[in-house]
């Protein structure tokens, strides 16, 4: 393996390849930072470009872009509450309040550090454990995915705000996810005979609308003529903060890789689950959502780690772990490579070059994120009168590019207005996203599990992994219900 790594290192350090990686990181930065333009779209756009390259360079380029977009979603998430990628939604929860307090530099620094750390942990796991972990991932089938989705949904309890509003949000999200053609039977649900709705509601228009557009509307109402000039000073490593967040970082990176490895579950879910776990383990859970370092570190470490984890089943089994890796898989086929269990042994040179490439991408992110973000954060000082319209334009273009659909743009604007109103009652907007992301997984996997067991609910409790996931979820729900009662009792005794 060391031999292959060394070989890979030599391939990557060829000047042409280094240049390629550098431009990939830059493109990834840019695309990831623009709301609506996610890694999936960038990889799609660059796919035809790679047809002319040799396969090693092609996959280094694609995976590097993939890694860089997952990272740079945090920039606009923290600065403008306009998550650049779906993976960065959770980062806005604590990142944006810090920016509002004038601590944008601190927030970005934590974000960069956590991302790079998560990405590096992910890459190391990828290099060492790929063959081993792939077989573990196969143990996950429908009942386990259902368990995981249920566990993910319990996050709502830790989102802060009023629990009942959070629950309504999750239910709304879950319900929106059912719109469209039912994947299992082909029945049209709530489509009102519209072709646009039969395709279902995409995640990106909802995220961009609820977060970015509603924020622009809110800002437009505020008077910001006398805006103080904020100077963003990014400090990537701060030992006092690091000491505070080191456990969060470790836990989130590992959790992120683990979730990323599971086929079909991506970095967004990883960020959500790891955020909720961090709140759960925290000594001061009430502070989350108001701008604590852990609230940035957790999702960022997790989503970058998960992005790398998603490559594990791709390389080891030819099964994509997320949307972007599914497209990279398609690219493998175009290059005449056969993804599958023998892929790693047959193409070890290419794989190890890609691994080393990813490693270098993390270093490049560390080196170049600072100047790049500084460029972006200068925009903070531009009067909102110029920034507002430009953010809206980015939102429209980004949303449109997801499916080439004007309908999505209208949907996005609609969710923008909805988000504006929901903000007025302190509604936890993330709850809707949570439901929307986990809804399809929860529903279809529940139905698939029961189809597998022919209607027998015991399937969830016979299989060890799903049994433990679901029992943990049930315990957590009970804890949420019981803990206020206990607190009340205690208060009464005092």
């Amino acid at each position: 393996m060391l031999d292959s790594l060394l070989n890979g290192f030599l391939t990557v350090t060829e000047p042409m390849n280094l240049l390629l990686l550098f431009s990939a990181v830059f493109i990834g930065f840019l695309g990831g930072a623009l709301p609506g333009i996610s890694g999936v779209i960038l990889v799609v756009i660059l796919l035809p470009v790679t047809y002319g390259m040799d396969s090693t360079s092609a996959f280094m380029l694609l995976t590097a872009i993939y890694g860089a977009t997952v990272f740079s979603g945090l920039i606009t998430s923290i600065l403008y509450r306009a998550p650049g990628t779906p993976e960065a939604v959770m980062t806005a929860l604590d990142g944006y309040p810090m920016t509002q307090r004038g601590e944008a530099g601190k927030a970005l620094g934590i974000g960069i550090f956590s991302s790079v750390l998560g990405g590096t942990v992910g890459t190391i796991v990828l290099i060492i454990f790929t063959p081993l972990l792939a077989s573990v991932a196969l143990q996950f089938s429908s009942p386990e995915f259902f368990g995981l989705a249920v566990l993910g949904l319990t996050v709502v309890a830790s989102l802060g705000g009023r629990l009942i509003l959070g629950l309504i949000g999750v239910m709304l999200g879950l319900f929106i996810a059912t719109i469209g053609i039912d994947p299992l039977t082909g029945t049209e649900r709530f489509t009102f005979n519209s072709l646009n709705l039969s395709a279902g509601v995409e995640l990106i228009p909802v995220i961009v609308g609820l977060f970015a557009v509603s924020e622009v509307l809110k800002k437009a109402k505020e008077n910001d003529t006398e805006k103080e000039i904020t100077k963003v000073k990014i400090k990537i490593f701060d030992s006092s903060i690091f000491r505070k967040i080191r456990f969060t970082l470790a836990r989130s990176s590992i959790l992120g890789v683990a979730i990323g490895i599971l086929p079909g579950i991506g970095a967004s879910t990883a960020a959500m689950v790891s955020y909720s776990e961090t709140v759960r383990w925290s000594k001061h859970p009430k502070k989350f959502g108001k701008g604590v370092p852990e609230g940035i570190a957790a999702p960022e470490a997790a989503n970058n780690a998960a992005a790398m984890g998603a490559l594990v089943p791709l390389f080891a089994l030819g099964i994509p772990g997320s949307g972007t890796t599914a497209i990279i898989l398609g690219a493998f086929v175009m290059h005449g490579l056969q993804p599958g269990p023998t892929f790693m042994t047959n193409n070890s040179e290419l794989i190890y070059a890609v691994f080393v490439g990813l490693f270098i991408v993390n270093i490049l992110i560390l080196l170049f994120s600072k100047p790049f973000i500084r460029m972006f954060s200068k925009l903070l000082n531009i009067p909102y009168a110029s920034l507002g319209p430009i953010i809206i334009i980015c939102c429209i273009v980004g949303t449109f590019s997801v499916r080439n659909s004007m309908f999505d743009v209208w949907l996005m604007l609609g969710f923008g207005v909805l988000g504006y109103f929901l903000e007025k009652i302190d509604f936890p907007l993330v709850a809707i996203i949570l439901g929307l992301v986990l809804g399809p997984i929860a529903e279809s996997e529940l139905r698939r599990s029961l189809a597998l067991s022919q209607g027998d609910f015991s399937i969830f409790f016979i299989r060890p992994i799903s049994a433990s996931l679901i029992s943990v979820a049930i315990l957590l729900v009970c804890a949420v219900i019981i803990s206020p009662i206990i607190k009340k009792r205690k208060a009464q005794k005092l």
Binding site: I181, A326, G340, P341, A451
Partner: protein, 326 residues
């Protein structure tokens, strides 16, 4: 101050009006095949990026660009099984500049009533790929087709087959297979091919219907095995695998990929595009791509007329199957 603003807004309106006039006076496209193509072309791909249909379109794109001396933009419209791509093609001007790249999913989703654009709204130009459908299992579960068949026959409702969504070519293959063999099997649709494969690998489901080209890697490692081929004759590369026809079942459909235009397109232009596609199909470069992606197990080409006949036949068959299995 406020007056200034109004003046600027009015000025902008003027600009907009001028621009509007400029646009409307653009000349309309010519319609004879002589000056075809009369402008830049657009490929609408009825599938997501990176899939087989997308790869197909992007392979044809540079070749057609070169042969016709035009620029082609490729737009992916994967939502609702590509229904948007068909709809937009049907509504496009009949000048042959908008081509719809679709797979058999077009006809299967039409049969399932999930696609409002019927065959009367589109003209098939050519079929360029015909992939072979196979029944694939985990060899740890079933060594060969006979073993599978015996087990399924003796244990009704016990065997579960996975596939991608409810109106896909593999679902239709499943229905056809069930109909022809009389076996009592279950079907579970998954969201993506990867989930189906991983469930076959882990043994949670018994098998799947799919293309040989997509599982070559697993065959090599012995973790998946095709046990039945939907074809008339055994494949040259896999002489040991039995076919449906030799078992006495007339099932030969696989996933096909072709090109469509709006039904308003005049016949000359349709045959012109057909000729251009035929040239591409026969070129060494295209054949090399088919070979590289293992799509060359059987002849892919079908001209406009034959392709339409084939599609109509398939549609009737699938509609009937869909109705029986509602």
């Amino acid at each position: 101050m406020l007056r200034n603003k109004f003046i600027s807004i009015i000025a902008l309106m003027m600009v907009f009006l001028l621009v509007g006039c400029g646009n409307s006076s653009e000349e309309s496209a010519g319609k004879s095949d002589e000056n075809y193509p009369s402008g830049n072309m657009k490929f609408l791909v009825a599938a997501g990026a990176g899939g087989g249909t997308d790869n197909f379109a992007r392979q044809v794109q540079p070749m057609l660009e070169e042969n016709l001396g035009t620029t082609i933009s490729v737009v992916n419209l994967p939502s609702a099984s590509g229904a948007q791509a068909h709809k937009r093609t049907a509504n496009s001007e009949g000048n042959g500049l908008t081509l719809d790249f679709a797979s058999s999913t077009y006809i299967t989703s039409l049969a399932a009533g999930q696609n409002p654009t019927g065959l009367e709204q589109l003209t098939p130009v050519a079929r360029m790929q015909s992939d072979v459908m196979t029944l694939i299992v985990n060899p740890n579960k079933y060594k060969n087709f006979d073993e599978f068949y015996e087990h399924a026959k003796n244990n009704p409702e016990d065997v579960t087959i996975g596939g991608t969504h409810a109106a896909s070519p593999d679902k239709m293959a499943f229905l056809e297979f069930k109909d022809a063999t009389g076996l009592d099997l279950n079907f579970i649709p998954y969201d993506e091919q990867g989930s189906v494969s991983s469930n076959v690998l882990s043994g949670n489901i018994d098998g799947m219907f799919g293309e040989i080209s997509s599982i070559l890697g697993y065959m090599e490692s012995g973790e998946m095995k095709p046990i039945l081929i939907f074809a008339e004759e055994r494949l040259k590369d896999f002489p040991e695998i039995p076919t449906t026809v030799e078992k006495g079942w007339d099932l030969t459909n696989g996933n096909e990929r072709g090109v469509f235009v709006s039904a308003d397109t005049p016949d000359e232009i349709v045959s012109k595009i057909e000729q251009e596609l035929k040239n591409i199909y026969d070129s060494d470069k295209y054949q090399e791509y088919e070979k590289k992606t293992n799509l060359d197990f059987r002849e892919g080409w079908l001209g406009s007329e034959e392709y339409r006949e084939k599609l109509e036949k398939d549609l009737d068959k699938y509609k009937k199957l869909q109705k029986e299995n509602k």
